[in-house]
Symmetry: C2
């Protein structure tokens, strides 16, 4: 199957958003996507971009994407975070995910980061098996903590 | 106890590194800190900074620090990540950690992020209790995945 991997452009963000919504359905959270195409354009294009997005394209269609950004570890220094790697359901099993993953790892090496990191749902055994084969380390003794906007506003009120 | 919270300057990074090493000892990883004062200066000061660091200062001494940076959630948009919040052992219980935490939350509100997030070790019950009181959400069904530099180089070799 022929496809090309390249950086996402402004005009791809509509299809990238579509992939994000598809993944949210897969993760049993169909209503969870609160961003818009504009959010992706504002934060993913230009000098002030918060993230870099790679897409897999076949003719005019975006079949998959990988979204990454830099973080900073106080133990290791500059690192790369893989936020999402998505291949559209009907195009799975054709090597697109692997190609995007390899692109991310090559980008990490080019940028000289100390490590690449991401998170995976503990029931997503297909993904876990795929990552295992590439020689990663899993850390199971950490919990994620989140304070959303509503919780943040409630908390800040208690400070006054 | 009187102390001031402010942004870290270049000349604070030596003491910030000292706090990072103190936390690594607390987390049973005394040899884990591979960054230097220069790493902190290069990535924490100036227009191209990867992170923002707040410090708690009393006279010339840095008693604690909180290190944060922006991330991008494909569900929520721009978010703030709290990488480390450290108070030097002998200054704990004096409200310094709370003051740094509040500074981070106020900064998050000023920057208009959709959420603040971080990770906590599952055995660190003091920290977990502290976070709980502030109304956060804990996510326990995610594993962290890391590919370090050595693993990355090994993986990239398999692609050739």
């Amino acid at each position: 199957m022929e496809f090309t991997i390249r950086r996402a452009l402004k005009e791809d963000m509509s299809q990238v958003l579509h992939l994000i919504k598809e993944l949210a359905v897969f993760e049993n959270e169909p209503e969870a996507v609160h961003i818009t195409e504009e959010t992706l354009i504002n934060h993913g294009v230009g000098n002030q971009a918060l993230f870099t997005c790679f897409v897999a394209q076949q003719e005019g269609k975006i079949l998959g994407m990988a979204l990454v950004y830099f973080r900073f570890s106080t133990w290791e220094g500059k690192s790369l975070h893989l936020e999402d790697l998505i291949v559209s359901q009907e195009y799975r099993g054709k090597g697109i995910g692997k190609a995007l993953y390899n692109q991310v790892m090559q980008y990490a090496a080019q940028e000289g980061v100390s490590r690449v990191e991401w998170v995976v749902l503990d029931w997503n055994t297909n993904a876990i098996d795929f990552y295992k084969k590439s020689g990663v380390t899993f850390l199971k003794d950490w919990h994620l903590v989140q304070m959303n906007k509503k919780q943040l506003n409630l908390y800040l009120k208690t400070l006054n």
